[in-house]
């Protein structure tokens, strides 16, 4: 890109992409704020999902400690374990729904074609959706963490900054995943059910509400193939002092490698399906 356009050309190109991303992000923020009830529910609903987990933990606990759970996870603080899982799995939802499903939303609203015939990069159009959803997800998740901690008690003894830095490669990888999913949705055109299921399965098998070691071997193999599993494990180890499946440095290395892989693969999948849809004239079909 730099050699083709020169440094100045690359700078101009980059500025254009940021302008597109910013415009899309601003549009999505305004839509989000236009439905205040939905905005409020984005904080309230996760708390409602957390409450049954808390009470289920209490059902198996002795004096508030999940002693059986400690045998699997290395901590008897089941709720803090689940709270961190929910926090991180919200980013998986962002990849599937916020980025991947955004294409179908645009199709339904009839704005996909008008947006895509502009000179704006289509990758930037999709990335723009993910920027604001990542931001809103972070704000939501922090809100949920604060409310969850106040209601049920959360005990984070580790280094939060280290945990955030450890999580960053996973967020970038998930953006790549979302891009790839957007490409698939472009072709399939009605993917709500598949995205719903995939999102939930990936979240659960990554270890949102239980350590993956409880899974039977076939499912454990699937869980270990997900880069997010190592992300969850590493962040929990830093914040809660739980045992990791592999040495922490190895898990971080796996996440970094998968970040590069998922971004490249996601881009390739998106471009492939986008080319196919343009050739077949499917962009405007519903």
């Amino acid at each position: 890109m730099v050699s083709k356009f020169g440094i100045n050309g690359f700078g101009a190109w980059l500025r254009r992409q940021f302008r597109v991303i910013g415009a899309i992000a601003w549009k999505d923020l305004r839509i989000f704020l236009r439905y205040p009830a939905n905005a409020l529910m984005s904080v309230v609903e996760p708390i409602m999902w957390l409450a049954p987990a808390y009470f289920m933990g209490q059902g198996f606990s002795v004096n508030g400690q999940a002693i059986g759970f400690a045998g699997f996870a290395g901590t008897s603080d089941y709720f803090s374990f689940v709270m961190m899982g929910m926090f991180m799995s919200s980013y998986i939802s962002t990849a599937f729904w916020g980025t991947g499903f955004s294409v179908q939303e645009d199709m339904t609203l009839g704005v996909l074609e008008p947006n895509w015939v502009t000179p704006a990069s289509r990758v930037s159009l999709v990335i723009g959706r993910s920027v604001i959803t990542l931001l809103l997800t972070t704000l939501n998740s922090i809100g949920v963490l604060i409310v969850g901690a106040a209601l049920f008690g959360v005990n984070l003894t580790g280094n939060v900054l280290a945990a955030v830095i450890t999580m960053l490669p996973m967020l970038i990888a998930l953006t790549g995943l979302g891009l790839g999913i957007a490409g698939v949705v472009l072709s399939v055109r009605r993917a709500g059910a598949a995205i719903d299921i995939s999102n939930w399965v990936v979240s659960q098998l990554s270890g949102t509400t239980f350590p993956v070691s409880v899974l039977p071997r076939p499912l454990l193999a699937v869980a270990l193939a997900l880069p997010t599993t190592y992300g969850f494990d590493a962040v929990r180890s830093i914040l809660l002092g739980t045992k990791t499946m592999l040495p922490l440095k190895v898990e971080i290395g796996i996440m970094l490698a998968s970040t590069a892989g998922m971004c490249v693969a996601g881009y390739a999948v998106f471009k492939t399906f986008e080319r196919r849809c343009r050739r077949q004239g499917l962009l405007g079909t519903h």
């Binding site: 409602m48 049954p52 289920m56 059902g59 198996f60 059986g68 709500g192 059910a193 598949a194 299921i197």
Partner: protein, 278 residues
């Protein structure tokens, strides 16, 4: 009167047929019907298994509170009924919202066809569609996890009465959609309330007293408890009669209230002229 009833039935069946055709036109409905009832309870059971511990040390605390060590059946009963409630809540109100978005609500409602019959026809489609996931879930629970639910006429009756109660709530929600123009937040909130207070995955004894009081005011609490006691613990009618009649009273009350709410809102929306507003 002699012409009204056949006319109403025709509208009811036409709406049901339309919705069944739409549902089956997109193959992903099969995925929803068969995959969720298997995935959601099963993955929740893994969380319970983790809590029980590799040595079962958490299981004794659970057994003391619930009277059973069968946490798989316990979790499945709660999750299946909650999923059923979820489907019913989305069905009727969601159908109205879908018609608003498609732009067919006003044109359908300008016809002389009884609106309640149209709504109930959509509900029939959802009832048929939602039975399949329940059967799938119970089958997986039995085959994959080895849990045996006693499927007796009384259990079937509990499901039927529970469905009536849920449908009454769904009718009330359909009314809300006409006012609020947006369904998601209301359904998320209500299903969240049921999730928190009805003992889906935990015994009610672990809830604080004020939450147990709220639980007693929710029909799903009785549905879940009845299915667990009848289907898993082998209780008889005599053991559960009180709670069964409480659930029946809920069902009757909610159905009547739902119909009345819908008719009231229908009239109000017509007067204000906001029916077609998106």
């Amino acid at each position: 009167m002699s012409r009204t009833m056949p006319h109403t039935v025709r509208v009811f069946l036409a709406a049901a047929r339309r919705d069944i055709l739409i549902t089956t036109r997109y193959a992903d409905f099969v995925v929803s019907m068969l995959v969720w009832p298997v995935l959601m309870p099963s993955l929740t059971v893994f969380a319970a298994k983790a809590l029980a511990g590799p040595d079962g040390s958490g299981l004794s605390a659970f057994a003391e509170r619930t009277g059973t060590t069968d946490y798989v059946g316990f979790v499945f009963a709660g999750m299946v009924l909650w999923m059923w409630l979820n489907m019913v809540l989305w069905s009727v109100g969601g159908e109205l919202r879908a018609e608003q978005r498609r732009g067919t609500l006003e044109s359908n409602w300008m016809t002389p066809a009884p609106r309640l019959a149209m709504l109930l026809g959509s509900g029939l489609n959802q009832m048929i569609v939602s039975i399949v996931p329940v059967i799938a879930s119970l089958a997986v629970c039995s085959i994959a996890w080895g849990v045996r639910f006693a499927v007796t006429p009384l259990v079937g009756l509990v499901f039927l009465v529970s469905t009536m109660a849920m449908f009454g709530m769904a009718l009330a929600f359909a009314s809300l959609v006409l006012f609020l123009k947006e369904l998601n937040a209301a359904v998320f909130f209500l299903r969240g309330v049921f999730m928190v207070f009805c003992g889906l995955t935990s015994p009610l004894s672990v809830l604080p007293p004020w939450m147990r009081t709220v639980s007693k005011a929710l029909p799903l609490t009785y549905s879940i408890d009845l299915v667990r006691r009848l289907g898993l613990a082998g209780a008889s009618y005599a053991d559960v009669s009180r709670d069964f009649w409480i659930l029946t009273a809920f069902a009757a009350g909610l159905l009547i209230a739902g119909c009345l709410a819908f008719l009231f809102v229908d009239r109000a929306v017509k007067r204000s002229g906001t029916l077609g507003q998106y």
